[in-house]
Symmetry: C2
Subunit: 312 residues, 2 copies
């Protein structure tokens, strides 16, 4: 009886691959390089070769494997059609069909942030829930929405693209997406650093951050935890935008729990506290008690989600 699944998470520099039991135990994980030359033409065949090699190593027959689930860094339709992955050089094509043809196996493909959300629902911060919104605070802000245990892909693959919700129509700086005032400009690692540098440059207020040459999000959170006023204000500003966005999202999909992950979430409880504070203030009364949890799977969440997706 088939009882193994592979979870794959394609990033711009490396592809993470995990071998899982159908019950959700990570049995083995490894990485291969993402070859982005020739429009990313070798990525799927490299993955197929690596999966096949691992099956040989572990003496797994095709009948032992349920399938492969894969997250990609770009919008993906429900049927596995990738709309474009700029980082990989990919245009528009059905990545699920292509990898399925190469491996002769069931393949499920989704957006990486949606896959991470599914992974956290399965074995992470959202375990025990079937309706979660995951927010990934990294270099950018990603999001993934799971309703009734299924990823919300969206008609244009933009379901859960909450990093690009317009949160300030008066913003003058431009987001990577070309718009102005996106959540990502305030709640990402890049965003909080941008705002801290602005505050440092615009005033001569004292702050521990003035002793640091290149400020990172971690230093801002550490300074805030040790009582630095200017740093604390940056954390408050992040929580205010993120709490407001979460309150708006709750009026749309009304989830059981928000799971916060990504590099910025390593700041820990402080990020939950400040986000919840503003969420409670801005949320509609019926969903004001929705809870917030930290993600626990880190960079493995996408692999977990891929494996979970192929289990159906």
């Amino acid at each position: 009886m088939a009882s193994y699944v592979f979870g794959v998470d394609i990033g711009g520099t490396s592809v993470k691959i995990g071998l899982f039991s159908a019950e959700g135990e990570l049995l083995d994980k490894w990485e291969i390089t993402t070859r982005t030359d020739d429009g990313g033409a070798y990525i799927l065949s490299d993955i197929a070769a690596s999966v096949t090699a691992k099956m040989e190593e572990k003496s797994l027959a095709k009948e032992d494997v349920i399938g492969v689930g894969m997250g990609v860094p770009g919008p993906v339709r429900d049927d596995g059609t990738v709309i474009k992955c700029v980082n990989l050089g990919w245009g528009v094509f059905n990545a699920a069909e292509e990898l399925s043809r190469l491996l002769d196996m069931k393949v499920k493909v989704g957006n990486d942030a949606n896959m991470a959300a599914l992974g956290e629902m399965w074995q992470g911060g959202g375990k025990g829930h079937a309706n979660i919104v995951m927010v990934t605070l990294g270099t950018g802000v990603g999001g993934g929405i799971i309703l009734d245990g299924k990823m919300l892909a969206g008609v244009n693959g933009a379901g859960g693209e909450i990093g690009h919700m317009t949160m300030d129509i008066n913003e003058t700086d431009i987001c990577n997406c070309g718009k102005k005032g996106c959540l990502e400009q305030y709640a990402s690692a890049t965003g909080i650093v941008r705002l801290a540098n602005k505050a440092l440059n615009d005033t001569d207020r004292p702050s521990k951050l003035r002793e640091v040459q290149y400020i990172s999000a971690k230093e801002i959170f550490d300074a805030a935890k040790s009582g630095d006023e200017l740093a604390s204000e940056q954390v408050e500003a992040l929580g205010k935008k993120l709490g407001l966005a979460a309150a708006q999202i709750a009026c749309v999909v009304d989830p059981e729990v928000f799971v916060i992950g990504g590099g910025v979430s390593r700041a820990g409880q402080i990020i939950l506290d400040v986000t919840e504070k503003y969420f409670r203030q801005y949320a509609f009364h019926a969903c004001r008690n929705t809870t917030f949890e930290l993600a626990v799977l880190g960079n493995d969440a996408g692999m977990y989600g891929g494996a979970r997706a192929v289990l159906g």
Copy 2:
């Protein structure tokens, strides 16, 4: 073979009931009074009696009827549990089970705005689509979300409660829900009148609206269509808030189409134009081309949705 369905829409003063063919044709419709005394204890038995009487009148046997679908003015969980309907005097109970017991039939219950969205998807402005967001601009602002042909109820029955998305954290006036800055405060009939009166009182700028004793939303739209500058600014302000909210919603559920209904939508094309204008400005590029349509079923949308819901 069963080939008829009843659609019911409970309002604060009357209950609308429709008899439909399974193909979606409205064969008969009528209203009964909503008896809100004794905590709304008679509402469901009145509906059951009215449905039974209609079946006798039309010589329909129980086997001819697939079931009854019903929209109620308050939050409802997927299983038919009403969380509270202040207007009806209802507390928390399973209205679907109760009506099903009274009629010995399959019953599906949902929030009235969600039911209206389902109705518009079936036979209205969203016909041909399976993923729609309906926005109802009436005295308040309601919303309903249909994904893959199914209502998004939400864990607390607050799915699609987009009228209470916080759109301006600096608002000082209070919304009916107790918060400040809800979409409903700007995009409802009440909201646009509130803002127009403010503009008239705060300045002495000329406007046709000064000739009207009690301004309604219709008069504001009519004045805007005839070139009145102050009225046009109010319509722009409504479109700006509604377009921004729609852009945020699109980053969450990424629908095929937004359907705009309710009394304010009788203003027609002008409301689509002004909303789309700001939506295109604030929307993420992947979902920037999402279309906007006017609702077509008017006050019958909820009945249509009820009938559609029970078809599964």
